[in-house]
Symmetry: D3
Subunit: 229 residues, 6 copies
């Protein structure tokens, strides 16, 4: 299935390696994004509905039409413990596709969070439940249940391609998608990067300049940088 | 008075039924919006200046020109205890029409909150006062006092029509306007809806799917939904 | 140097008068902006990365290209205790030019905060450090180090001109720039304004209307305001 | 009927005075807007789909839900020769609610144009038909026919309140709404304004300055304007 | 290759069936989008740089970083006669990635057009060349050549997934992507749809209402529509 | 005068060298922007009100408050034959600060065009006059004449700093500002660049790839680019 299709629910998906997901959950979005070679990031308009929200898990995906959340109920059945639901919409919509009732259902089914390229509502309740949601908008606007979308097809969400089973990592810095096939290697690269950063942080704290630590002075001079008084 | 007019202050307005306002104050914006048949919602760019802000009350309205807050002082006199001031602007403006001094005056006059399709400032002070403000922007930009607007005429605020006396309900999900003439029936519909939701919430918590609870499976199948592995 | 230039680092700049900076740090952005005659304000899209962030200090400026934060390391060396780094970009960019490592370096060099017309990342860490950052966006997107910009040249940041040494004041209401040459007089005007406000606040608290306190009734009548019932 | 309602088609509406409509059709949007006292203007995001589009006529109104154009077919039946259809949506939508087939139907029923706070498509065909459309977006996205809206109720369109029968004037400068009840007087004021402008234009062409023609020099001096060299 | 990768140029791609491309080129974007089941549409911010621009062809894709157009030269070599270049960017950018020199090269290589989720420049020259470009922005901002992207990997462009070889159709209504694997069947569906429309158009021209032609009256009544006077 | 000030009209300004202006007028915005080292560009939201608009001349500047165009009449008097008026606003505004009467006056005074970080109106008339205007918005909204701004002070317009006398070049690609002090050298650099481009264009037309013409292959390989089939 190489493209978006409507009216389909894929029940069997291959989730990313469990231990890779667990490892990736220890890192922030910026670190994972760097470990991937600076790919997979959703647009910065995706924001957590409360400060400190954080989630990491394999994606079950859902594709919907603007103003129609029918498939949210269909995707609920496909959730396995630890999954993150990723919702794309076929055109721009800020309506409230998701609220406290669906959140209750998702939690009961084991979902760890929601990433949606549209609006959500009942954010006070969702915050009280500490159910992490990353969305494009907050809106009380109700949606209808009239048109079929799909579940567990590839979706584009906030500018990023998400295949079912891919790992989604989201925190205050945004949302990044790690393809299932490279999750292990990205987790390792993230760990390496973070180890590397601890040492750098200590030097910078001591007042060492990045100019010296990264040996940038020569490159800058070659590029023509001039110091004047 | 069927349309917007300038230079007029209407002193006598018919506020929505008091007990209806009191009842509506117990519900969130999403519930009230649904109870109204999904109407009356302002655009989602209207946000509270602090998390958890909530207000419900009859509207006194004010219409101003961009960058000119003269009428804010005129509307202050028309506030009665429990009112919410709703401010529309004749063209787009993000300037700071309202700050801590006006808030002090509004509170002294009995206002319960402000909904404004423009910017406000002194948000730290307003937050400390716990005076709920819902606005399009936060901006320190000062305004002038040069041109007449009106008070207690119908205004369009963030895409919603607000007549003086209508009930305005605002919380983290946005702002909804309930026409005074249907406030009682909307309050009842909201109560019915909420009663109804408690039961649904319990079922969903127990793991029952919306697919089954709302009996959606047949409709989805009729629409052509296909499950594949 | 009357215009933007690339490839230059100015090491000697004249910072605004120290006691003026100290005085200005006691006032909010709205007060300072009014004291300046309503000038110097950055666009309202500049927001603090955490509620309550506040900073005041002389600007060291840096001009960068979109997606390229090389000069951030160059500006770090020019920071003196108490400075605020102000970063402009030659075209629109939401990428994450600044994160916890650079923040660690800036703090070690004595920087009090950052104002940047682009994105930043690691906002959870920056918040934990209580390092005040005011930015256009939050984004994990990494940047490169390929092209020269300049340090301590005049920059346009979010619509405001900032010369190195100017005082930058930023809080929940936004960011305002006070030219170094008028910092003393603006600080005095701000103090006068604030003194003046305390008295007004008391009157308004007591229920006096702005209409009477500011003697607006006559002007409104002359402008044609009509009261109807 | 003082507020928005769903599921209603009002067949009998009072259209603005015919000769007033005819008179208003001779003036541009800016002139009419000024003649109304600077009210009634829609947001500037409303743009004609082709340069030079111009329309003036009484409004038949339609209220729809995002992504659902069912009521477009309902409003078609209510069109009388010379009417302009004005379409509001209960939440933000950029989908294509209108294309060449509906345009063919509207033209057959006598419509002179469409003003819609959403998207339209087939703009090449609409341009070839020279059917003036003013919209928020151009989008090929198809819409569904699932939910009731209303016809000939008051609607908010792009920030302006439109009652059925009001006169809508639209050209390259945007869209303005003239309440039916004041159409005659606004048409007269517009004519007076335009007559007045011809004389001014001649003077300005001859090099007379607005400063002198409008006698602004004294006011500017009193306000403190200083000329320096 | 199931996801975006950097530093790769795929030389061999399977382009959509030639005759399907030829057939699709006869239809507008709205028709093709409908024929696909309302999928594959790019966001409506993608606009032609001149009115009447139209293009249809198999996609060669290029993925770039913000502000860096190095890969544009790499993709030029992969163009075959009739191709449309589709360019995605790893983060938001409005810079001018493409101008008259690259257009000259693309034309020489046989390209029929460009679809780019960023900015372009020299639009006067591109218009004179009648080289159809669909972009997010127009900007003179120059780009650098510093970082690798990829050619002929799947890219997300303006919210749509584009695989190399897919058919891209673009006109005044926007841009739609037809997966290569279903191009034949979509072309047929488009033809059927258009044939069908000619008949409808005639009826509507004759004054038949959509209400009757589509037999909507019963459904509307069942949904509760009420006619009042 | 190193910063923005209100209430001042500077009558004597030093305009950029005449022959440099004349030379610059032969080049497009992209060429001039490149010749400046990729600086001085206004934001891409600045658009011409008609396709093909082009202007080049020394700037007379005006600073205004949102919704207040009083100073437009003041700046009219300071225009000399060949000048381009550049208008900045102290906060965001889309109102119509300029229309056909002011255009008539500006033309009579010798102005060649207007660049304004706000809205304009009467665009049909301005187009008929072929008076080139580059603006942020088109809006019929009228402005008032209540508050002083300044004339011929440095202004920030759409993100660019403009000093009076600087050369402003604007065309379909946007607007660029050349500081008066470097106008001669930028004109020369632009000429050199354009001469250089003619040769490149010929080669590209003949099918030579940029990869070869710019000798990029080695650099790409060093950066790790891999070709696969």
């Amino acid at each position: 299935m190489s493209s978006q299709q409507l009216g389909i629910v894929k029940r069997t998906i291959v989730r990313a390696d469990k231990s890779a997901v667990e490892k990736l959950s220890r890192f922030g979005v910026a670190t994972v994004h760097e470990a991937m070679g600076r790919l997979g990031l959703m647009k910065p308009y995706m924001r957590p509905i409360y400060a400190g929200a954080h989630v990491c898990g394999p994606a079950v995906t859902v594709l919907m039409h603007p103003g129609d959340n029918w498939m949210m109920h269909v995707v609920a059945e496909q959730i396995q413990r630890g999954d993150v639901v990723v919702a794309g919409v076929t055109a721009e919509s800020t309506d409230g596709f998701f609220g406290d009732l669906l959140a209750t259902s998702f939690v009961a089914r084991g979902a760890k969070g929601l990433v949606i390229d549209a609006g959500v509502r009942d954010v006070k309740d969702l915050t009280a439940m500490q159910f992490p949601v990353f969305s494009k908008a907050i809106s009380a606007k109700g949606t209808i249940k009239a048109t079929l979308g799909s579940v567990n097809v590839p979706v584009v969400c906030a500018g990023a391609l998400v295949n079912p089973g891919d790992v989604v990592v989201a925190d205050d810095d945004g949302v990044v998608v790690v393809p299932a096939g490279i999750a292990v290697q990205v987790a390792e690269a993230a760990a390496a990067r973070e180890a590397n950063e601890a040492d750098k942080r200590k030097k910078l704290e001591a007042g060492v300049l990045g100019l010296d630590m990264y040996k940038m002075r020569e490159g800058l001079e070659r590029a023509g940088l001039k110091y004047i008084d």
